[in-house]
Symmetry: C2
Subunit: 348 residues, 2 copies
Amino acid sequence: MTDPTMASCPVPAAETERILLGHGSGGRLMAELLHDVVGAELGGDVTAEDAAIVDLGSAEAVVSTDSFVVTPRFFPGGDIGSLAVHGTVNDLAMRGARPVALSLAYIVEEGLPLAELRAVTASVARAAAAAGVRVVTGDTKVVGRGAADGLYVTTTGLGLRPPGAAPSAVRGRPGDAVLLSGPIGLHGTAILSARERLGFEAEIASDSRPLHALVAAMIEVGGERVHALRDPTRGGLASALNELAESSAVGVELDEESIPVPPPVAAACALLGLDPVHVANEGCLVALVAPEAADAVLAAMRARPDGAGAVRIGQATAGHPGRVQMRTLLGSARVVDMLVGEQLPRIC
Amino acid sequence: MTDPTMASCPVPAAETERILLGHGSGGRLMAELLHDVVGAELGGDVTAEDAAIVDLGSAEAVVSTDSFVVTPRFFPGGDIGSLAVHGTVNDLAMRGARPVALSLAYIVEEGLPLAELRAVTASVARAAAAAGVRVVTGDTKVVGRGAADGLYVTTTGLGLRPPGAAPSAVRGRPGDAVLLSGPIGLHGTAILSARERLGFEAEIASDSRPLHALVAAMIEVGGERVHALRDPTRGGLASALNELAESSAVGVELDEESIPVPPPVAAACALLGLDPVHVANEGCLVALVAPEAADAVLAAMRARPDGAGAVRIGQATAGHPGRVQMRTLLGSARVVDMLVGEQLPRIC
């Protein structure tokens, strides 16, 4: 409740007893839903991490799942198929895992052109091959007209984590450098521009891409000193850093001027009234890295095309644990909170 | 094209270029969709088996995924949550695996009562605990009103296969006994009765339950002589046996009188114009077992509550490979084909 707009405009209690669009936002309502409903009913904590470690005896396997409901299904820089591969591969990568196998489940609305399902599936295949992961099993359900919006895709990834790689949302420490692998806001603004025909399509394309090789390069240099990784998808950089700050019980201080926002993204956000730190990304990551390893890890990131734009954007602190603050260009400090509800529905 | 009704009533070519409800049926249209569209685009065969083997080095892991779109979400004998656990646990079991971990992905329509999501999640938790499998990761997406029908659930299971357990759809051999673990038709008729308020709800409940312990008991006795297993879900016993016959290149001959159809299921099917062999099940399995092991495996099945109704219903043959024939009560033989299109939409 650090956002002052919350106090003056609370969500009515009666309204919160039904699922709202905001429950899918990646923001606070969603965190509450996962904690209070899903986590509570399952009796465990399935929400603190992007992917789960499964003890397989000698091998340490990692499992992650994501459903994709993005609209439109085809957008500059990708489509629902490539996104479904990248999103799950990246969730595995955030736990330090190399992707090994993917499952693919479709829920299809009656009436979808077969050509479109074929195109999406081809995109899945291309993205999987490029990421070096096999699609090993799948499922298809069809529902009547009006019972879905075209096509929804659920992928589940199985990965293997090499010894020494242990990034986790809970391992951030005061003093850690906060590294960002590239510019923010491209995916969300690309989707919105395509959806609303805003005319930015020529300038903005989604950053959707697999990040496991970048993570492997970071871990090769930094090992266990790569403490925490997160891909800032729904809810954007702000939500990702708030989740890490909360899980690791550290504060995070950011320098606004160090955060790379491409000019077309800034223009689109200004037009739409969005803050770029809340806009979804699908091809960058944020890392908490021990200070003594930060320069070497940053150099390793910059040596790769998928990390060429990597920058240090701040540091973790012992003060204000669980809170993210930003020093603005004007010299003041502001709290960077998670969104309360839904800003951009069906962005992934 | 062994069904004579096909020749006289083909699906118009123009119609087949769009997704039809029948593409989700578990029947021939779906098989063609998976082969021609999904399999072709992925460049591999992700559809021949219920679950995939993933080489994890020393461990042999099994992965399976399924989306659940059943309506109504609550029905006699279960709900979409328990069904989502049982369905995926059973797909793992059909490959001889013990379930280890489940992922859980929700696509939720705006407006769903939270109480309902809570109830479904509680049911997932109960079913998972009863099956001895952990839900280790999950995802929730919310779409706008009208963009889904309440709640869709996708589960992906990770299982481990012990040495010596190698059931596969391709391992059936001429001479194998065809074993069925219990009565057929309960799930599909329970769903239809609940959906259409047919009044059979007091007599018919879904057979939804996990089958991995039954499979373990079968393999303990029969080992590798348990050649092939299939749970006859969408498309029913007919589709399951056609798939096994085709994958193993054997014929299958069934004795109609040996197939257990509970009287209320027979009555419901007569009322609805359905053939019980095409009706979905969620708590029984069909097995091809080497003849010298069949009696011992059948006895092991009957010794358990989940296999108490097990019977031998026929045998695999070298003749008419890929085709399933049934000797009827009248002494004639008829071809038991897969359904062409959709008989019972959204049954699971």
